[in-house]
C-alpha cells in the first residue's frame, strides 16, 4: 500500500455464543481513500465496524486505528462515527448535541459550519426529540464530521436519507477524501459502493469474499441467473450454484452463453428458459458457497 494506513482489521474473528460473526477478516483503509464494506444484512458489517472503533474486543486478530489500539481513547482522537439516529438524546438541542461531541476533539469544526453543511441552521435551537426523521439522520451524520477527523467510519450512512440529503452526504464524503481523509462505509447496495468508493471489500457470513476495485468486485459478484422450468438439469461446468425452487432449476453462472451452449450439448431440457442478471443478494449467496 502506498499511502498511510488509517484503519485496519488484521485476521479478526469474533463470535457471539455459537454464532460466528467474523471469521479471520482482513481489511485496510488508506488515507485519501473511500472504502466500502459491502455485504448483505447479517454479513458481519456492523460487527466489523464496531470492532474497528473499539466497541468490541476481537476474539482473535487485532484492530488498528493509525497503528494504535482503538480501545485506548487517545487512538480515537482522529476518528469520527455516526450514532444510530434513533438513539440521539431527545432533550438536548441540535446545537448542544453538536457541541457535546465537538468538545472531545482538539480542533473541531465550527458549529455554524456543521449546521450549514448539513442544512440544520433553522433547527439549531430545537430539541432533538422534535426533529423529523431526515433531520435526525443529518444530525447523526454531522456528528461524524464534528471533530474534523482524519478517518470517517459510517455504518449504512444513507439508510433512511432522502435523495437531497444523500447528495449532501455524498458530497461531504468526497470532499473529505479529496482533502486526504479516509472513509470506511458499510452498505448493502452495490450502487452506493459504485458511486462513492475506490475500493470495496465484500463480506458475507463473516468472511471476506472479495476485495479490490469496484470494477473487479462487480465482475466477481456480477452473476447471471438461468431459470429452467424443469428438474433433472444435467451438471455442466461454469455453474457457481444451483438450486431447485417450485419445480424449476436455478443456475447462477458467470457466463450465461457458455452454460446454455453446454446445456444444449447435453441435450438438456430448456423449457421456459430465462436468463436474468442475479441480484446482489443472490450473488452474495452464490459467492458464499463459492468461497475462495
Amino acid at each position: 500500500m502506498s499511502a498511510v494506513t488509517a484503519a485496519a482489521l488484521e485476521g479478526v474473528s469474533k463470535s457471539f455464543g455459537r454464532t460466528v460473526a467474523l471469521d479471520g477478516v482482513d481489511l485496510s483503509v488508506a488515507c485519501g481513500e473511500i472504502h466500502a464494506l459491502l455485504g448483505p444484512n447479517g454479513a458481519g458489517k456492523t460487527t466489523a465496524l464496531s470492532t474497528l472503533v473499539g466497541l468490541r474486543r476481537p476474539d482473535a486478530g487485532r484492530a488498528r486505528l493509525f497503528g494504535c489500539d482503538p480501545r485506548r481513547s487517545a487512538s480515537r482522537l482522529r476518528l469520527g462515527c455516526t450514532p444510530q439516529e434513533t438513539s440521539l438524546p431527545q432533550t438536548l438541542t441540535v446545537r448542544e448535541t453538536l457541541d457535546l461531541v465537538r468538545a472531545h476533539y482538539p480542533q473541531p469544526r465550527a458549529t455554524q459550519e456543521l449546521l450549514e453543511t448539513f442544512d440544520l441552521v433553522p433547527h439549531a435551537r430545537r430539541q432533538v426529540g422534535g426533529l423529523s426523521g431526515g433531520q435526525r439522520r443529518r444530525l447523526s451524520v454531522a456528528l461524524a464530521f464534528a471533530g474534523a477527523p482524519s478517518l470517517l467510519v459510517l455504518d449504512e450512512p444513507t439508510a433512511g436519507l432522502d435523495v437531497a440529503s444523500r447528495r449532501v452526504l455524498w458530497a461531504a464524503i468526497r470532499r473529505h477524501a479529496a482533502a486526504g481523509g479516509a472513509v470506511l462505509l458499510s452498505t448493502h447496495q452495490l450502487e452506493e459502493a459504485e458511486a462513492l468508493a475506490g475500493r470495496v471489500t465484500v463480506i458475507a457470513a463473516g468472511r471476506v469474499r472479495a476485495e479490490g476495485t469496484v470494477d473487479a468486485v462487480r465482475a466477481r459478484a456480477g452473476l447471471a441467473r438461468i431459470r429452467i422450468a424443469a428438474t433433472g438439469v444435467p451438471e455442466v461446468p461454469g455453474v457457481v450454484r444451483r438450486e431447485l425452487l417450485n419445480g424449476a432449476t436455478m443456475l447462477y453462472v458467470r457466463d450465461a452463453g457458455e452454460v446454455v451452449r453446454e446445456l444444449v450439448r447435453h441435450d438438456a431440457s430448456l423449457e421456459g428458459l430465462e436468463v436474468t442478471p442475479a441480484t446482489l443478494e443472490e450473488a452474495f449467496v452464490a459467492l458464499t458457497e463459492d468461497a475462495p
Binding site: F16, R57, Q84, T86, S87, P89, T91, V101, A103, H104
Partner: protein
Amino acid sequence: MRLALIHAVAQLRQLARYPMFLVPTLALPVGFYALFGLPQSRSDPTVLMASFAAYAILGVAFFQFGVGIAIEREEPWEAYLRTLPASAAVRFAGRLGSALVFAAASVAPVLILAAATRPISLSAVGWLRLAFVLGAGAVPLGLLGIALGYWVPAKGALPVANLLYLGFAYAGGLWTGPRGLPHALATIGPYLPTRQWGDVLWSAARGGGVGGRHWLALFGFSVAFAVAAAAGYRRDEGRRFR
C-alpha cells in the same frame, strides 16, 4: 476534567428537561419528610431530619445511578459515546458530578423545611459534620447503585431498585429510628449499610462522637460494592451488544 464537567452538564440538561424525572426526584424526599417526619413530635427533630436527608440520597443512589445506568447502557447513544475519545473514567466522573448536584438538590429542601419548622440544635460545626457524614454514607450506597446498574437489565432495574430502596430505608431505621422497628428487623439492621450509616448520622445529629466500628463497616461495604460494580462493568463490556 473539563470533559467530565461537560458530560455532567449535558446529563443535567437532559434530566432537568424531563419534568417526570425532575419533580419526583426533588419533591418526594421533602414530601415524605413533611408527611412522616414532621408529625413524629416525640423524636429528636435533628435525628429525624438527618434520617430523611439520608433517605433522599438513597433515592439518587438507587434511581439515578442504578436505574439510570441500567437503562443507558443498553442504548445505542451510550455505545456512540464510547467511540468518542473520552475514557470510561471521564464519563463516570460526569455521572458522579450530576448525581451530586441532584443529591444536593433533593436534600436541601428537607434541611430547609426542618430548619424552618423544628427546633434544630446544631452549631455551624455540627451542620458541617452532618453534611460530611451524609456525603460519606453516599459513597457505599452510590457504589451499590452502580453495581445494580451494571448487573440488572433495564427492565428489571426499576422494581429491584424500588425493593432495595424501600427495604433498606425501612430496615435501616431511616423512617422510624431503630427502636421503632420490629424486633426481627432490628437484629438484622447492623448488617445493612443504611443502618450503619444511620448510626453514624444519628450520633452526629446528637452532637456525639462516632464509633470507629461503624466507619469500618461503611468502609467494608464500600469495598464490597466497589468490587461488585467493577466486576459488573467488565462483564458488561463483553455482553452489551449481543
